[in-house]
């Protein structure tokens, strides 16, 4: 299979379509929310249904890790930011209000580390269909983690602590990839190479990409809440 061939995970096209239809039937959102929601859905569907999926599932761990970072970190934030207050209230009435930050972070970390365990990862790659489970767990974990933040239930100090804890706790996986001296996944060890990367170089680069993406996302989010904290203080002073 050529690296430029398309591969498909149709379940996620269907889910993205369903989400888009539901969104269109809701109240009229401001443009930025619409754009955010659409970008989030695109970042779920496109990485999983494109040549990116072919390379991720057949050739390079680097691309698979970038794909995971997109669907687990960036897409969930964008999707949740795209929800209007009425949509959030609707979700809260149907159980989202019961999501506690401490459990959300644990579930997210379990999904993050659990799906990257060698046994699970190799199994998902070997079977092919189990990649749907891996990606589903990562997307669900990302939505759970970012919900307490985007729902607005956490005050700024708690949000900073939550994001700080998430940043530190999740960074070990990327660091393990960066500093590894042997490939973690036998699947990629025997996969046909691409762009001249050895298996270990591929893994190190994957860790760098993952770590860089997380650093950027978390620092931006923490920075936003610090600015909120400063704004609250200046309002109190007045």
């Amino acid at each position: 299979m050529s690296p430029t061939d398309f591969s498909w995970e149709p379940a996620y096209i269907a889910l993205a379509t369903l989400a888009a239809v539901s969104y269109a039937r809701g109240d009229r959102p401001p443009r930025w929310r619409l754009a955010s929601f659409a970008a989030g859905l695109f970042l779920v569907a496109a990485p999983l249904d494109s040549p990116m999926e072919t390379i991720a599932a057949k050739r390079l761990l680097l691309v698979h890790l970038v794909q995971n970072a997109l669907i687990a970190d960036i897409a969930p934030i964008l999707v949740l930011l795209g929800l209007t207050p009425a949509m959030k209230a609707w979700l809260e009435r149907r159980g989202a209000a019961r999501i506690r930050a401490r459990w959300a972070i644990l579930a997210w970390l379990a999904a993050w580390y659990g799906t990257h365990l060698a046994g699970f990862y190799n199994w998902a790659l070997d079977t092919g269909w189990a990649l749907n489970i891996e990606h589903g767990l990562l997307i669900a974990g990302g939505l759970l983690f970012w919900w307490p933040i985007v729902s607005g239930r956490l005050p700024a100090p708690a949000a900073i602590a939550y994001l700080g804890a998430g940043f530190v706790a999740s960074s070990f996986l990327g660091l393990a990839f960066i500093f590894s001296t042997h490939p973690f996944y036998s699947f990629y060890e025997h996969a046909p190479r691409l762009w001249g990367f050895s298996a270990i170089r591929d893994q190190n680069l994957g860790g760098i990409a993952m770590n860089g993406e997380q650093t950027l996302v978390f620092l931006v989010a923490i920075g936003w809440y610090v600015s909120q904290l400063l704004r609250e203080e200046s309002l109190q002073e007045r």
Partner: protein, 249 residues
Amino acid sequence: MAPVALAAVAALLFAQAIVRLRRRGRADLAGWDRVALFGLGLAVTLVALLGPIDRLGEEKYLSVHMLQHVLIGDLAPALMTVAVRGPLLVFLLPAGVLAPLARSARVRATLSTLLRPRVAFGLWAANLATWHVPYLYDLALRHDSVHYFEHGCWVVAGFLMWTLLVDPGSHKRLTVGGRIALAAALFACGQVLADVLIFSFHPLYPAYPRRTDQQLAGIVMMAEQLVTLGTLAFVLLRPRLRASRLVAA
């Protein structure tokens, strides 16, 4: 031996401050916890500048050299600044030395300028960037005088930052939110350097040819900052977290 002499002077100044404050009946402001913190700060400095850390850092490993810099430029100033917070700070210099300094308009103006958050942060960031330019890093390794000057810069920059973060004299130059913002900005700056070291595919410093060692140096910087600035953020945020929990309850 310069570090030992300077540490001895610092220890003497701190000891006389403790004794004077206790004689005034304020042992509560000059407890053993302060002595332990200050002692730990001095010990961290000496361990970093003498012995295997100094030798390995200069001769073999960039990661150990980085460890030395974060110890003398971040952890030690943090510990010592926390140790002298409150009235102890005023007693740190004997009255005969403090009085003329405090009366000097020039000294006051200089300190006031240096401790403006934007100025202090700018100096800290410039110091961080400057000393990691490969040419200067190499120069410091080749010339002891430059190396001593570099270490002096780390220590001064560290004390400037931690004076703003801890606010030992309760000058309130920054609000709690401002201090957290400063800590976040310091971490973000440090992270840029750490990422350059971690993500580089080639060794940046001629004296340290191992790429893994260079990546480890980035991790050392990130981990140390996480510990010091993370602890500070936790201490500053804790009362607010408690308050928000009470409101929620």
